[in-house]
């Protein structure tokens, strides 16, 4: 449970809290602390819902059938499916990159792989629902996700375009 990330955060908290105490005095320190504790408490039910949704979503979709749709010569639909697979299937980098390696091995082109990895890094449902929605305002998250939706597909098309012109060849 205790890892580098948690220790980093703890150090950041100590330093920033200490600096606020010194610069603004104990009153402001306690005021800020209590206000943020209250905010976290109000947020927790939403966080819990986000966790359940993110975990259950991975079981709703049939993985094999979806991966087959992103195979070779699947066109723009294939890019969209690859992006969605990257965004929705839960799991860390090890899982997603193996999934992508599998997709490429099954004959899909570089563009589908880029769409899948981009779908994951930009739109991972897990990270968006669990972390981003907890920290950042909901309307910000919504707009960012909507604007980002076409991006992995566009990146895939760009890769195909470059490949046709021979630029992206190894």
């Amino acid at each position: 449970m205790i890892d580098g990330g948690l220790i980093t955060l703890f150090i950041i908290l100590l330093l920033s809290g200490g600096a606020v105490w010194i610069k603004f005095g104990p009153d402001v320190f306690w005021q800020t602390l209590l206000a943020d504790l209250g905010f976290v408490a109000v947020l927790l039910p939403k966080v819990a819902g986000g966790v359940v949704l993110a975990v259950a979503l991975g079981y709703v979709l049939p993985r094999e059938r979806i991966m087959a749709l992103a195979g070779p010569e699947s066109g723009v639909t294939g890019l969209a499916v690859a992006m969605l697979a990257g965004a929705i299937f839960p799991g860390g980098p090890a899982v997603t990159f193996s999934l992508t390696a599998g997709l490429l091995a099954s004959g899909a082109d570089l563009a589908a792989g880029v769409a899948m990895v981009s779908g994951w890094v930009l739109l991972s449902a897990n990270r968006t629902l669990i972390w981003e929605l907890s920290f950042l305002p909901a309307h910000f998250v919504l707009v960012r996700v909507l604007l980002t939706l076409p991006i992995p597909i566009l990146l895939g098309l760009a890769v195909r375009h470059l490949a046709r012109r021979g630029v992206a060849a190894e």
Binding site: V20, K23, A138, H139
Partner: protein, 163 residues
Amino acid sequence: MNILIGTILIWAGAVWALARVNRDHRSELRTIWQISLDTFLFMLPRLLLGMLSAGFLALLLPEDYVQRFLGESSGLTGLLIASLFGALTPGGPFVAFAIGASAIKAGATLGAITAYVTAWCIYSILRIISYELPMLGAAFTRTRLLVSLPVPILLGLLAPVVM
């Protein structure tokens, strides 16, 4: 109020997904609860530390600097700075999002934060070195990073138009 609506929407989605699982893969329900509980317990201390840090950092961030470099008048330069910071931010999502939250409180525009978050998503250095390069190879990684280059700026420009 905003949080209440968000909470209701998210739980509606969760109940829908659980109902689908209950219909098609009933045996997985226990696993889902277990993973959800583990994830929630993993998050709790990180969320708490991240939120409290974000609150303190927002007070400490020099507001005039944040507003000058990431605020309304910062324009394209602001988006470039935000993208660069995003690409260089190490650590997990809780670190990047906590920094984003404090920058918003200190007066950064939503466009700048969009560029920051997007660049962090695309260029997380540790993830590239430890996973992407070994598992997918240099040609793949280079191609993905190159075509993604304009994305943080592009989204940073579009975000304020929509919001």
